[in-house]
Symmetry: C2
């Protein structure tokens, strides 16, 4: 197995997690990370042993003054790697695109960029095969990843007539102390639909979906209220089993007593998850409800980490080094996705024994 | 016009506002308020000149020690009044019911009580006439009031096939410093539907409605994301006009720049509203959107005050002293409901002139 050399451009919330995840895979490694300022994250990158590249010659000096060795500028990194994962802030990736193209380096962008930045928008569960061998991919945003993962198995099993979802979004990530709101609930955007529905359509072009978004004073996770009008009317038990069978959907058993995002994170930390991350959609099992063909549920989406396994799979899609099934299995194994689900499975096994 | 003597049992968030609102009406006055503890609210009640009654003889002593004169115990107040408005904490009203019945005093309960507490659940816009002359009424909760007000005109004008709503609820009122959550988003309850849909059905028994609820770290207002599948497909402009014509629906013009609940409250304070209250549903005009027969919008509901005008109307319904139209007009005039809407109307007049 060749070891693909992966460059990470941008070492913030997403970039640092992708770097850690790449290092855990058997078929790829980090050849360097690029960072613009010599802050605590740059120090952590060096401490973690990643060769550090910077935006410009001027940055080399700034890092030098801060006592951080750099391996070179980002241009050299883009030249040296097999794939570059762009994890720069929203809108910055677009400005780097020409440089990736000039170096003929396959590039993976994040969902903060407009869909046009890449050949194809990507979700590992939904359209991996369509994306194989592309020159560039865009891993859809955390919320869109959460929605497409949830909708994929339902679409395949029962067909979907319409989706209506409200996304109650965290105001900012834990490190973003310049964000809000404080003590408020903001429609964001005020106009309907929010951009999330159209973004889901970059993966499922024919899906009828209307989304609304709100911003609230929390930093932990987004919470979605979802209504899916199915084409058929299956039994709720069949739906629960269908969803529970998906590795990146964690159908949370009621007995865990996880009443919100804080308890979910606490569980992830207890289970030894790196940075307390929750790569899976967390769907409260108790909330799954069916009224005719109308399915409802609440799911929590960890905005800092749910796209991490998707980025790993996007690397294998772009390099055509594995099939969708192989790639997802490799990623899940390496990241320990399935550990939380194994707890839920215990629960279901007991239920089956009791049946 | 007879002046109805109104007793207010419970002088907290809702009770104190109803007392103020009663005093502003031409046809009723507060004959006394009852309070259990001699705290800052009791002091304010005395300062406002309301005869103060207490729960028991033991309380008389406690109030005396705190230097607050009391007029007697709650039994005397219940005997003396024409109507008692129960604004005690959720679940306490039920315990008082027998005492109101024994005194043969018509009683108005709040939405925190179970529907069975009263002969009929009440919303002034939706079912005033059905409630006229009842022995007891229950003013539905702030959220249910907000939903029924919004749905009434749509139901009458176009018919409603189905309603789906997410209620993003404030964790507690500004004075409830023992409430949460902090930095979290909680499904509440986790099971679907939430109680709000069935509560709306206490007013509209045949309505097909599914609701979901979340609790977030805010004290200001609830925010609803609403989807109404109408029976017809009217023009969006017709719907906006329909809703704008309702006195207790404030369709907020985009030009006010009220991006959330904080700015709505600030506007109410600038407009001289008592306690900064927002009696009206605040519907962001920009958010009204139609996709086929699917209508969407965001509305903010001020949990501390939107039921206040409804309680005033419930008093007139129970005493059969005015028709629905007369009562709502009297209440609106006395509380200055229409002041905010007049700002929006300016906007629409300009739009019409420009058409």
């Amino acid at each position: 197995m060749n070891t693909a050399q992966i460059a990470i451009n941008g070492y913030g919330t997403i970039g640092k997690r992708i770097a850690s995840a790449v290092e855990l895979q058997p078929d790829m490694q980090v050849c360097g990370v690029a960072k613009t300022s010599p802050d605590y994250e740059a120090n952590a990158a060096r401490a973690n042993g990643y060769p550090l590249y910077v935006a410009s010659e001027r940055s080399v000096e700034a890092f030098g003054e801060a006592g951080i060795d750099v391996a070179g500028t980002v241009e050299a990194l883009i030249e040296a790697c097999d794939v570059v994962v762009d994890a720069t802030p929203s809108g910055v990736g677009k400005r780097y695109k020409a440089r990736y193209d000039a170096a003929d380096t396959p590039a993976i962008f994040q969902g903060g960029e407009a869909p046009e930045v890449a050949e194809q928008s990507f979700n590992a569960r939904s359209n991996f095969e369509d994306c194989a061998g592309a020159d560039s991919l865009r891993v859809v945003s955390c919320n869109t990843t959460g929605l497409t993962r949830f909708l994929s198995p339902l679409k395949e099993a029962y067909g979907i007539e319409k989706v209506r979802a409200t996304l109650v979004r965290r105001g900012g990530d834990p490190s973003q102390s310049d964000r809000g709101p404080i003590n408020d609930i903001l429609p964001d955007p005020v106009s309907i639909p929010s951009h999330h529905g159209p973004d889901v359509q970059t993966v499922f072009p024919d899906l009828d979906i209307d989304t609304m978004g709100l911003k609230v004073p929390s930093t932990r996770m987004h919470v979605h209220t979802i209504n899916v009008t199915l084409s058929e009317e299956p039994a709720l038990r069949a739906i629960t089993d269908q969803l529970s069978g998906e590795s990146r959907l964690f159908v949370v058993p009621a007995r865990l007593g996880t009443n919100g995002c804080g308890t979910l994170h606490e569980f992830a930390r207890e289970m030894g998850r790196s940075r307390g991350d929750l790569y899976e959609n967390c769907i409260w099992g108790e909330s799954l409800a069916l009224n005719g063909r109308d399915l409802y549920c609440y799911q929590a989406i960890h905005q800092e980490s749910d796209v991490v396994p998707e980025n790993i799979d996007a690397i294998r899609a772009i390099t055509e080094s594995a099939s969708a099934t192989e790639s997802r299995a490799l990623t899940d194994e390496a990241l320990g996705i399935g550990i939380l689900e194994s707890v839920a499975r215990m629960d279901r096994t007991e239920t089956m024994l009791a049946d």
